[in-house]
């Protein structure tokens, strides 16, 4: 079956622009996670949804980061007024139990 998909795969933004990153989870997966992976590092947790409810957003680095999953399926991670330090790969994962299945990621470069 189809895995987790993310779009766009690559995004270049000028500093100060807003960006929106999309995640399509595996059909039927209740849980959805966003992670940020800086160059040369492991992924770091950003936020978690169970269906449409955002149950944990403790990893979001600032109030410029906002995530939603209005119908409990597709999720969007929005970053307002992007800064250079936001450059990273943003990974989405979905889960039915404990195992998390990851998408290919969106590589964001802020210039």
């Amino acid at each position: 079956g189809a895995g987790v998909s993310q779009s766009p795969r690559y995004k270049v933004a000028k500093r100060g622009q807003d960006v929106a990153l999309r995640c399509d989870p595996i059909s039927g997966h209740v849980s959805l996670f966003w992670y940020q992976q800086a160059l040369g590092q492991g992924p770091e947790f950003l936020t978690y949804f169970q269906n449409e409810a955002q149950l944990d957003k403790s990893g979001l680095p600032s109030d410029r980061f906002f995530a939603e999953r209005p119908e409990g399926s597709v999720s969007t991670l929005k970053i307002q007024r992007t800064q250079q330090e936001d450059s990273a790969v943003y990974l989405c994962a979905s889960s039915l139990s404990y195992e998390q299945y990851f998408g290919p990621g969106t590589r964001l470069t802020v210039t």
Partner: protein
């Protein structure tokens, strides 16, 4: 606080040689552990998992890992590596203690298999 330490950032090895990638963790509650592999410009692929029960777990591509609670380790092993195993490997921890299920990752180990 929980943490995952991958002791080697890079591991070079010759083809058909055995390899061990080390992972140690710290947690005050019961844990479950994963190993993921990441090929260039791709997402993370689940290699194997330890949730409970048998401490020796087998995964895809001939990899296996052993959960050792007393040593707080979950080292990944393969008896004979192939060129195609060249990738970055991440150890990840989740806990049964009430977190929402988000994983804590190590910094990764780059495995480089040479002919």
């Amino acid at each position: 606080a929980q943490s995952v330490t991958q002791l080697d950032s890079q591991v070079p090895v010759f083809e058909e040689a055995p390899v061990e990638l080390r992972c140690n963790y710290s947690s005050s509650v019961s844990v479950y552990l994963f190993w993921y592999v990441q090929y260039p410009n791709q997402g993370l692929q689940l290699l194997l998992k330890y949730l409970s029960g048998s401490t020796l777990v087998k995964g895809i591509n001939g990899f296996e890992a052993e959960f050792n609670k007393s040593q707080t380790s979950f080292h990944l092993r393969k008896p004979s590596v192939h060129i195609s195993d060249t990738a970055e490997y991440f150890c990840a921890l989740g806990d049964y203690g009430g977190s929402q299920g988000n994983l804590i990752f190590g910094k990764g180990t780059k495995l480089s298999v040479k002919p």
